[in-house]
Amino acid sequence: MSTPGAPAAALTRAAAADDGAGSTPAAGALDAVRLALLRDLKLAFRKRGQLVQPLAFFALVTMLFPLAVSPELSRLREIAPGVIWVAALLASLLALEFLFRDDAYDGTLEQYALSGQSLTWLVFAKTAAHWLLTGLPLALMAPLAALSLGAPSASLPGIVGSVAVGSVALSLIGSIGAALTLGMKRSGALLSLLTLPLSLPVLIFGARATQLAISGGPLLAPLELLGALAVLGVTLAPLAAAAAVRVSLE
């Protein structure tokens, strides 16, 4: 300690001001959520390689189908909704493994659980960051995949919308699976076994919306159902995921 005088005194003063009443200028729940979200975004941009992986995976899987099935656009157009959604589902699953793992490893989750803030909100912030980093880019990439599979350009807004809404639900469902498998050594297969059956409704409604978008039909009904799933997910999934995180810390 070179200068124990002034700064230390400042520290003690700050401490004295807060003494007794716990930590007084407490951060609100909103501050906490904002900071948790920003922290995850900043960390993700420091490790860009990990960000690109699910997107590259999505593009690759989409590319496999013309090679495996047929290069004819008319045939590809028929399977395009299925291809896009299966690829998006698998890509988001791939990214899920990283959702809590690093934080569990370095003790950040523990500090979250002991922060006095609602763990549910902090888990929600993490899931939101996860969606911004995988779901949203996937939605923005989906039109490219759709075009390469012969979808008409008029269908693109509908496709972006359905993938964007559906991936919200996928991230939320996935957060539960990711939290439940925390602390296991080889969790990849189990994570898919837990997450995929629960994701089927999203797949069904999402693929239907995409199909209607491509054929030019009214896609509001499946889109609304997707939205309902996303809302249900927002209200319930962070609760379950936070409880699962607490179990993993026991």
Binding site: A14, L35, D106, G107, E110, S115, E250
Partner: protein, 208 residues
């Protein structure tokens, strides 16, 4: 306002097949310091984590200000700072960024306050480097700065002097002494004993 007081009644904890905590009980009031000792595997960390209400004991309870901590968990956690084996730091953020997020989630903290805390632990020169480039001792110092910045009455520390040089250990001692003189409570699991700056230490010995 009720007195800050931690009471532990008859804690029993099993980890798998092992009966780790067998009826641990103690009480600690304002300015009290408790040293938890015992060989490896005697349940020091388990005890600390049970006190933090991370682990649910099979039997017994932990009371804060006379109330079961389970009843008002967020309030108890807001009054508590826990430092585990490893400093809870992100390798890809700088020391300063780490503190800003870690502490900021719990309380608003001014930049000047951050600087002061970092200087106090001797980190002015390296606090903007990524944590992955810091030594284990430097990381421990960042964690200590965070501890001081949290400004809470109850500290629960797991081996706070690990990886620290002599000067760093003295720093731990003076931080704890200040916390106690403010009326705070400190519970620390240690291998040998807390630095000499800390006086009036009670000791709880766990047997394997």
């Amino acid at each position: 306002m009720l007195d800050e007081r931690l009471e532990v009644e008859n804690l029993h904890l099993w980890r798998g097949e092992r009966h780790v905590l067998r009826g641990v009980h103690f009480a600690l009031g304002r300015g009290g310091c408790l040293e938890v000792t015992g060989p490896n595997g005697s349940g020091k960390t388990s005890l600390l984590r049970t006190l933090c209400a991370l682990i649910y004991p099979e039997e017994g309870r932990v009371l804060w200000k006379g109330e079961n901590v389970r009843r008002e968990l967020p309030a108890f956690h807001a009054a508590l700072a826990y430092l585990g084996h490893e400093p809870p730091l992100k390798a890809d953020l700088s020391a300063r960024e780490n503190l800003r997020y870690w502490i900021g989630i719990r309380r608003r903290v001014a930049a000047a306050e951050l600087d002061a805390a970092l200087e106090r632990v001797g980190g002015s020169s390296w606090c903007d480097r990524l944590v992955r480039t810091l030594s284990a001792g430097q990381r421990r110092r960042v964690a200590l700065a965070g501890l001081a910045l949290l400004v809470v009455p109850l500290w629960i520390l797991d081996e706070p002097t690990t990886n620290l040089d002599t000067e760093g250990q003295q720093l731990v001692g003076s931080l704890i002494a200040e916390q106690l003189s403010r009326g705070g409570l400190v519970i620390a699991a240690v291998h040998q004993s807390l630095p000499p700056a800390v006086r009036d230490v009670r000791r709880l010995e766990l047997s394997p």
